[in-house]
């Protein structure tokens, strides 16, 4: 069985993050903010075939002023 990398999760570096909240604006389906403005990221892997979500995740990564976000591609949920 070939291992297919077909899912992704957003990961935030909590040290770099300063709570600008741009990720929540750009990818509201994946990122919520807590009462202090720091992101709470959906930890469930999202299918890469969901083009709209992947696109908004990419927007969030590029839109982060501290470059604290990245997309981690993983093989699907077991």
């Amino acid at each position: 069985m070939s291992r297919r990398i077909d899912h992704f999760v957003l990961k935030v570096d909590p040290i770099l993050c300063d709570g600008f909240g741009h990720c929540h604006e750009l990818a509201p389906e994946l990122v919520h903010v807590d009462e202090w403005g720091y992101p709470i990221i959906n930890e469930q892997p999202t299918s890469s075939s969901d083009v709209a979500l992947l696109k908004s995740a990419k927007l969030a990564v590029r839109g982060c002023p501290r470059q604290a976000l990245r997309i981690e591609r993983i093989s699907g949920p077991t």
Partner: protein, 424 residues
């Protein structure tokens, strides 16, 4: 080579001063490095004594798989817990055992340098270690030892913060997304071990795994050092066999026979109700109660104390000790402390405050770069569980007696500057 099973093992009977290298070798024998060492360490099942209880053999294996010839061993004797005294007791009674263990580990992973990190708070201990290192230097054999004295902070003893200090002179934890993560000092992979773990390795190297397993349980073998404070006859550090009942450990230390609750693991640990005193003191038995052996901290809190008030003081101090790198920790922990204070002092809608506290705990958990916020959340959650009746009393406007008492049972260092507090 045989040795009696009796305790203490690592804590040598104190002669009032640390053992010299010659005395140490008379008592324990010289170190011999054989090929069996790795097998013995693996068979011993030694768990790290720094708090996370990670299997030392696995850590060594991870470092052995790393490339490069310039590896380092970092001995962590920072003793971040304000009520912990085990590393200091160890280093002031027998520093050479700790250094022996570090030397064994250096041989196993192929390290050429050993960094010994002792907090500069306690100059006596720094002096003892300096002396011991000098004695070894005169022998002109073995790996190179370097002494470091980082400033004392709670998070400074966290392994990535310690490595950060060795690299950049900053005691801030680093972000490690994928664990297990190999830390690097410069470009050298580093094996970070607690001082007590290192001392146990020093004994396993001499007497083997079977001897080590004569004490303890099959999952948590060996003995461990515990620092017992609070409502006890006298605060002490004792060496106990893992798996002995908590009641026997407390009785030996002369603790209050009928306490209210017991804080286990450290300031990022968990409360245990006094009705569970017959539980065995090892991780597998404590896990159902959400507690762990942690860094070997036991604080006994008597019935006259207010558990919420004690928790509030710990959380306020822990919030202040945060390195304030991650938002959830820098803003979340002060919020937890303030919620606890509101519960203590009363408000117009106390029930909502308790609910908000629970929600905030769930929000903060697991969102820092290190485990500092997670530990505080665990403490608060266990306090809400163990002192449930007490919380209920505060909510209903009938607070316990202890809240007005000026006597505190859990020692919390004074804040350097009150104005540093971010929530007032």
């Amino acid at each position: 080579m045989t040795m009696t099973i009796s305790l203490p093992r690592v804590m040598h009977a104190a002669s009032g001063r640390p053992l010299s290298l010659r005395e140490h070798e008379e008592a324990f024998g010289t170190t011999t490095v054989g090929t069996a060492l790795l097998r013995e360490l693996d068979a011993s099942g030694l768990l790290g004594r720094g708090g996370a209880s990670f299997t030392t053999a696995m850590k060594v294996e991870l470092l052995r798989s790393q490339r490069g010839h310039h590896k380092v061993v970092v001995v962590n004797a920072m003793e971040g817990e304000p009520v912990g005294h085990k590393d200091r007791t160890l280093l002031s009674s027998n520093p050479h055992l700790v250094l022996d263990g570090a030397q064994y580990l250096a041989t196993l992973i192929g390290a050429r340098r050993i960094e010994v990190c002792v907090s500069r708070k306690d100059s006596t201990i720094v002096h003892h270690v300096q002396r011991a290192l000098h004695e070894r230097e005169l022998r002109k054999t073995g790996p190179e030892f370097v002494l470091h004295t980082p400033p004392w902070r709670y998070v400074a003893g966290e392994e990535s913060a310690l490595v950060h200090w060795l690299n950049d002179n900053e005691t801030m934890p680093q972000y490690r997304p994928n664990r297990p993560h190999v830390l690097h000092v410069g470009r050298s992979p580093a094996l970070v071990v607690n001082a007590e773990t290192s001392a146990h390795v020093g004994l396993i190297g001499r007497f083997g795994a079977d001897w080590f397993r004569e004490l303890g349980t099959s999952l948590s073998p060996g003995s461990t050092l515990v620092s017992i404070t609070g409502a006890v006859y006298r605060p002490t550090v004792r060496e106990v066999s893992l798996g002995s009942t908590l009641r026997s450990i407390l009785a030996e230390a002369g603790a209050d026979p009928d306490p209210q609750a017991i804080l286990l693991g450290g300031y990022g640990g968990a409360w245990l109700g006094a009705q569970h005193q017959d539980v065995a003191y090892c991780n597998e038995a404590l896990r159902p109660f959400g507690a762990s052996v942690g860094a070997g901290i036991i604080v006994v809190v008597p019935k006259v104390a207010c558990g919420i008030a004690e928790t509030q003081r710990i959380v306020a101090w822990m919030a202040n000790e945060s390195s304030r790198q991650c938002g959830p920790c820098a803003f979340g922990l002060p919020a937890l402390a303030q919620d606890l204070r509101t519960i203590l002092r009363g408000s117009s809608d106390p029930r909502a405050v308790v609910e908000r506290l629970k929600d905030r705990c769930a929000v903060i958990d697991g969102r820092g770069a290190c485990r500092h916020p997670d530990g505080v959340v665990r403490l608060v959650q266990s306090a809400l569980e163990v002192f449930k009746d007490d919380v209920e009393g505060h909510v209903n406007g009938t607070p316990c007696v202890g809240v007005t008492s000026s006597r505190h049972w859990v020692a919390v260092p004074a804040l350097e500057r009150e104005s540093e507090l971010v929530w007032e």
